[in-house]
Amino acid sequence: MTPYGPVAIYLVVALLAAALFCFVPGLLARRKPNPAKEEAYECGVEPTSDVSGRLPVHFYLIAMLFVVFDVEAASFFPWAVQMRALGLYGLLEMVAFVVVLAIGYVYIWRRGGLEWR
């Protein structure tokens, strides 16, 4: 069996266990439906309006920044493992890469991309 065989089997067992926890106990629970119970909770009053689809745009900005920097982080992994073999060459390559990112990071900061107003 390859190293990933046991992991795959474990994940199947975990999947079944999670499904067991999620979907079986619903059969045991008591049920007394009532219109008030089906309302969305809003501190006791009837919901004043529907959930609108509008959110502060800043959250989208954070998501986009995350994608940029997470790709950066992902590219660190293979480099980190080979660091001893790459030596000074690897270090300089990565310094150049980080400097380019740092320029972008400083730009975001100066333009107020990291502020919450």
Binding site: Y4, A14, C22, P25, P47, A73, A80, L91, W116
Partner: protein, 328 residues
């Protein structure tokens, strides 16, 4: 004796690991309530069983028989699926966490050489559970809570990844077993003190625990992303949260505290005992934080993650690489 098929052995191993993890979850919850109680000078749970030891069983039974409500504004399929995703991602990481080692082999279900990447991949899936739960509830507070949670978790995930890469440079491998072996002489929290600090902070934020529990800030968001959930479905988010706590404690032990390596040459005590002691220390540290610190404000939380932790983690990483390149 008939040869038992290999897959059956793995299935049994998996079931044992899951059972142990779920039991650990149940008692870490009791542990938290007890420790918090002592810190606040009250006795804590002490009615169900001696010393409150049957409290987890009582809680489980209560949750099982609670009515399971779905708001009529909710998206019924995703609403039911979200806790399942959160729980599956939380349980999945234990597939590769090595608990100890004996001459016969490593005590883990699977030992893969991309270990730490696997853990990050699964914990990232856990974010889906929370963000979908809030979105599918069709209610305002859960939606706000889950959007906050998602932004917080992805922001702190960056710094967490960076802090771990420093360890990878020192160990030269991403395999969890390999990282523990590389710490035979020197535990990595000494050369990676900054990385260790960042990991501790980001781990608290990643698991949405106090003082970073903005996700379920009762004072402003009712219950955050799980406001609408009741009964066992609510319990599943709880299980997932505590399991994630156990996971990050295990990972911190493996990456920074030498895993099952014994300190001061005390090798006559088995490795699993050391592993449990170190992991338990982290759990205690979590609870201590919760009992001590007030909650962050959201803008400060994000500013701290992006303006302090991320640059510091990157600098620490480059410094580590520079030292390795110099002494090679």
């Amino acid at each position: 004796m008939n040869a038992v098929p290999l897959w059956l052995i793995v299935v049994i191993k998996s079931a044992i690991v899951l059972f142990v993890v779920i039991t650990t979850f149940a008692y870490s919850m009791l542990f938290e309530r007890k420790v918090m109680a002592w810190m606040q000078l009250r006795p804590g749970p002490n009615r169900v069983g001696p010393w409150g030891l049957l409290q987890p069983a009582a809680d489980a039974a209560k949750m099982l028989f609670k009515e399971d409500l779905t708001p009529k504004t909710a998206d019924p399929v995703i609403y039911r699926l979200a806790p399942f995703i959160a729980l599956f991602a939380a349980m999945g990481t234990f597939a590769i966490i090595p608990f100890s080692e004996s001459p016969a082999g490593v005590w883990s279900v699977g030992d893969v050489n991309a270990g730490i990447l696997f853990v990050f991949a699964l914990t990232s899936i856990g974010v889906y559970g929370i963000s979908l739960a809030g979105w599918a509830s069709g209610s305002k507070f859960p939606l706000l809570g889950s959007v906050r949670a998602t932004a917080q978790m992805i922001s702190y995930e960056l710094s967490m990844t960076m802090s771990v890469v420093g360890v990878l440079i020192l160990a030269g491998t991403t395999s969890l077993v390999g990282i523990v072996h590389a710490q035979y002489r020197l535990w990595f929290f000494i050369p990676q003190l900054v990385g260790f600090g960042i990991y501790l902070i980001t781990a608290v934020a990643e698991t949405n625990r106090a003082p970073f529990d903005l996700v379920e800030a009762e004072t402003e968001l009712v219950g955050g992303f799980h406001t609408e959930y009741s009964g066992l479905r609510f319990g599943l988010f709880f299980i997932a949260e505590y399991m994630n706590m156990i996971t990050v404690s295990c990972i911190a032990t493996l990456l920074f505290l030498g895993g099952w390596n014994a300190p001061f040459g005390l090798t006559f005590i088995p490795g699993i005992v050391w592993f449990l002691i170190k992991g338990g220390l982290f759990l205690f540290f979590y609870i201590w934080l919760r009992a001590t610190l007030p909650r962050f404000r959201y803008d400060r939380l994000m500013a701290f993650g992006w303006k302090v932790l991320l640059p510091v983690a990157t600098l620490n990483l480059m410094a580590t690489a520079a030292v390795i390149a110099a002494v090679r």
